[in-house]
């Protein structure tokens, strides 16, 4: 028999938990839901745009009544649960409806706090919390003129902005001298206030409300200093309090909220709680973002998986006022032991402040330019050591290179402005998709619109759009990001499990780690294949079915289904005989396009799949091996002519490049890996935008790492300087092996180094000589079995079926 699950509270936290549970264990429970409001589940954080007339109630429904029916969920709307009988495991609603449970989930949310001043119960005094409040305000705006909003926090400002857009004359009353003091410091709050005043809002700061005046309807608000302002509508937006009356009455331990453990269980292990009603590790979250993480963990436990833990959330905030860009996260005020880095340009309306403690970002406030909000937030949550990038930190991530996308002020952009250049997705399309489909995460937006799903360079813009559309608390990519939908484990956890537990094949690994799918997916299988290959060199049998097509057939698939072939030309140095052989092959197989690549190779494009093995056979006879232009592998080593010919050359860069390429070819890496060697600091081989670039100087060789010339141009960081060619080779092998062993699959060296910090890489490669030799040793060990030319093997008949049609019919 199915177990019975009862959910009390039909809001975002509870229903999100049910959705997660249905994904994990669709048939485990009979589910009953009680909701006090007469609706399905709607997106509460979009109430402000409804008030501002930018959306309708229908726009913000997340789960309509049909969703409950389709999932076999019994829904009681408009029924408030007034009692939990824990002994009988039963809940009772005010109308007498009862439901018994095996597990109970409390998601009772929070209540708006009402200041108990005289007159607070007068008609015309309202809070800003649900659809009822919004409808009330919409009606009030039709017949009334002046509104007073008590509370200059996030919610109060959003309410004020909405009412003002509806044509009301609005005054915001705030107890302190800083608006949104939970999110902003004084300078940014002043900028915000000035901007809102420019839109016609009035502010009364440091004003303490004494009473609300009126006989049968509110007429004015009076303050402690005796002054009064007229009001037909008073909105109380001074904060929320977790709603735990029901839990408390049932004898569950409550403090400021319902106290839960890391699996979201209350003191009665059959009773779970999530969302704004809970207190976890001393914190009650008043924002929506943490509940997604809580819901996931709770569902995991309800489904008897029990390996997920909620360890608290770091939250960030955005204001949903059209045209205002504002971001805040963490401890933005700092204390005696922290330092501030500040950028201030009041004329342009820009203010940025980062709070730094022990070389880590602990808080951030951004006003006017928030493009880097999610980057700072990531650095903060990952506790990344920022000492290496400190000087450039305030200028943003794009300053570490050039993002290549000029526009970065999202609020000012028109709906028709193109955000994603790869897939041609404009701002309006993304905003519509977010609201119409109830999207919360970057992944959601990618799936629905394809924006930022290709090269990813507009990810920051899309995250900003999500934040400005969802406002205060969209669900940022969680800190602990699972590998794919097949598992909740992260890349790092999977890797560790593979080495720690001696997992040696994909089926063994996915079974050990309890994958949810029988044979993984197109995202996890290639990653697993690489991790196994890297962990067990020579022993692991490469799984061609888990390779992306290009790596499976050792050529690059083109848009028409033909392939391109790039023979390896060591260090970019060739000769007439080789060129003649390539020309002959191109003619023999009617190659339509012959192109010189950016990496100093020759690309033969438009080759039919069946022709590949024969063509490789011919190239093989002429002495060529695969150029691996198709793989997450060592690509090319680009060189300049160096001291052999160049009048400026200081070292023999071509010989160096050829030695490096001979040593590293055939190795598989987390993403493609490019190198270059320049013979002097003029750097004609463009070594400083490579994964590893070598620049010769008179006294030796400079080694530069982490460059990228693609999606996001990023110049390398200097790793160190060495004296001899042998040292260049040793450091190269060690660096590649560190990247192979520690970067996540599909991380280029640039983001990997930005995550772990250059200092860490220096410590492993430069300072720890013994460790460097061990890394280089493991690289060479792995190369023993990796340096087999895949083209020659296939020309001789390996994987023959792969290249031939199964049958020709008719």
């Amino acid at each position: 028999m199915k177990r019975k699950l009862v959910l009390v509270g039909n809001g975002m936290a509870g229903v999100r938990t049910l959705e997660e549970l249905l994904k994990l264990a669709p048939d485990m429970y009979d589910i009953t839901v009680f909701g006090a409001e007469p609706y399905g589940n709607y997106n509460r954080i979009l109430l402000s745009p409804v008030l501002a007339g930018e959306k309708t109630v229908d726009d913000i429904m997340l789960n309509d009544l049909r969703w409950y029916a389709d999932n076999g969920i019994t829904l009681h709307t408009g029924k408030t649960v007034e009692q939990i009988n824990r002994a009988r495991r039963e809940v009772v609603a005010t109308d007498g409806t009862t439901a018994s449970y095996d597990c109970l989930l409390l998601a009772t949310g929070s209540n708006p706090f009402i200041i108990p001043v005289p007159g607070h119960q007068l008609p015309g005094v309202i809070t800003f919390r649900d659809i009822h409040d919004v409808n009330f305000m919409l009606d009030a705006a039709k017949t009334h003129k002046s509104a007073v909003v008590i509370g200059g926090g996030l919610l109060g400002l959003e309410a004020a902005y909405g009412l003002q857009k509806l044509g009301m004359d609005v005054t915001v009353v705030h107890l302190l001298d800083t608006l949104m003091e939970r999110q902003l410091d004084k300078p940014s709050a002043d900028l915000l206030r000035r901007s809102l005043e420019g839109r016609g809002l009035k502010f009364l700061m440091q004003a303490q409300t004494e009473s609300i005046l009126g006989d049968d309807h509110v007429t004015a608000v009076r303050f402690k200093d005796g002054s009064e302002i007229p009001a037909d509508l008073v909105v109380m937006a001074v904060g929320i309090r977790p709603n735990f009356a029901l839990a408390k009455q049932a004898g569950l331990h409550c403090e400021r909220g319902i106290v839960v453990n890391d699996t979201m269980q209350t003191y009665d292990p059959r009773i779970y709680a999530v969302g704004e009603c809970v207190q976890h590790r001393g914190i009650a979250y008043g924002l929506v973002a943490p509940l997604f993480e809580q819901g996931k963990v709770c569902a995991n436990h309800l489904a008897h998986l029990g390996y997920a833990r909620y360890e608290g959330s770091v939250t960030s905030t955005k204001l949903k006022v059209t045209g205002i860009d504002l971001f805040s996260a963490g401890d933005f005020n700092g204390d005696a032991t922290s330092e501030d880095i500040i950028y201030k340009d009041p004329g342009a309306g820009i203010y940025k402040k980062l709070v730094i403690k022990d070389n880590r970002i602990t808080g951030a406030v951004l006003y006017g330019d928030t493009i880097d909000g999610s980057w700072y937030f990531d650095l903060m949550r990952n506790e990344t050591d920022i000492s290496d990038i400190r000087e450039d930190l305030l200028f943003g991530q794009s300053h570490l290179g050039d993002s290549g996308h000029g526009e970065d002020r999202i609020a000012a952009m028109a709906d028709s402005a193109e955000i994603c250049g790869c897939n041609g997705v404009c701002k309006g399309t993304i905003v519509n998709a977010i609201t119409a489909n109830g999207l919360f995460t970057l992944e959601d937006v990618r799936a629905h619109t394809k924006a930022s799903a290709s090269c990813g360079s507009c990810t920051g813009l899309v995250e900003q759009l999500l934040a400005s559309t969802l406002g205060s608390d969209y669900s940022q990519t969680p800190k602990k990001k699972s590998m794919c939908g097949c598992t909740d484990f992260t890349h790092d956890e999977v890797r560790k499990a593979i080495t720690d537990n001696g997992l040696k094949t994909i089926p063994v690994a996915t079974e050990f780690l309890e994958w949810r799918t029988p044979d993984g997916c197109h995202q996890c299988r290639p990653a697993l294949n690489f991790y196994l290959l890297c962990a067990w060199p020579g022993e692991y049998q490469d799984d061609s079915r888990s390779r992306f097509i290009n790596e499976r057939v050792h050529a690059n698939i083109q848009k028409d289904g033909t392939y391109s072939v790039v023979p390896r030309i060591w260090g970019g140095v060739t000769n007439p005989a080789e060129l003649r052989a390539i020309a002959d092959v191109a003619e023999k197989y009617n190659v339509p396009t012959v192109k010189i690549t950016g990496g100093q190779r020759i690309d033969l494009l438009g080759v039919k799949k069946e022709d590949l093995p024969k063509m490789w056979g011919d190239l093989s006879k002429a002495g060529f091996v695969s150029g691996h232009a198709y793989g997450k592998s060592l690509r090319t080593v680009k060189t300049c002519v160096g001291s052999e010919w160049c009048r400026f050359g200081t070292q023999d860069s071509t010989t160096m490049g050829i030695k490096m390429e001979r040593m590293t070819w055939g190795s598989w890496t987390p993403h493609k890996f490019k190198m270059a060697v320049s013979g002097c600091p003029r750097n004609c081989a463009e070594a400083t935008i490579k994964d590893l670039g070598v620049v010769a100087v008179d006294s030796g060789w400079e080694l530069h790492v982490g460059g990228n010339g693609g999606v996001k141009v990023r110049a390398t960081d200097l790793l160190c300087k060495v004296e001899t060619m042998e040292q260049v080779l040793e450091y190269t092998a060690a660096f590649m092996q560190l990247y192979r062993e520690e970067a996540r699959y599909l991380d280029r060296t640039a983001p990997w180094i930005e995550r772990v910090g250059l200092s860490y890489v220096k410590q492993r490669i430069v300072e720890d000589a013994a460790g460097r030799m061990q890394l280089a040793g493991r690289f060479h060990e792995s190369q023993k079995t990796a340096q087999v030319d895949p083209w020659a093997e296939r020309a001789e008949g390996i994987d023959r079926d792969e290249f031939m049609p199964m049958k020709k019919v008719g």
């Binding site: 799918t517 997916c521 299988r525 097509i549 199964m806 049958k807 020709k808």
Partner: protein, 118 residues
């Protein structure tokens, strides 16, 4: 004459893989899952015509190699939120041999047009 063509042994198709059958109507991709189920679809992704036979197969799905659309092998439908459908061909396995039904199946107009141009 029968409409079913024998196209080879099931073991000619790798598990979690696909082979192509060349026909006058264009290429047909024949897939074999981990559990030895066999499916046949036109070798064209409904998105931009990518060769589905070259994609990664998992469960009863294939990911198109060009832009990672995921196509359901039993229905030919793209997995939501993407929308589109690759034409299905009836296929059966008898005594380890795979048979594909070509005549009498409804073929979509685009396939005809492509075949006429080829």
């Amino acid at each position: 004459m029968t409409d079913w063509f024998e196209i080879g042994a099931m073991t000619d198709i790798p598990r979690l893989g696909s082979r192509v059958v060349r026909t006058a109507l264009g290429d047909i991709a024949v897939f074999r899952t981990a559990t030895d189920k066999v499916f046949a679809l036109t070798d064209k992704c409904p998105h931009k015509g990518g060769p589905l036979s070259q994609g990664i197969v998992y469960g009863e799905r294939v990911a198109c190699p060009l832009h990672n659309w995921v196509i359901q092998l039993d229905t030919g439908e793209a997995v939501a939120p993407d929308k589109g459908c690759a034409h299905r061909y009836p296929v059966k396995v008898e005594d380890g041999k795979v048979f594909l039904k070509l005549r009498g199946t409804v073929v979509n107009i685009a396939d005809y047009a492509a075949a006429a141009q080829a």
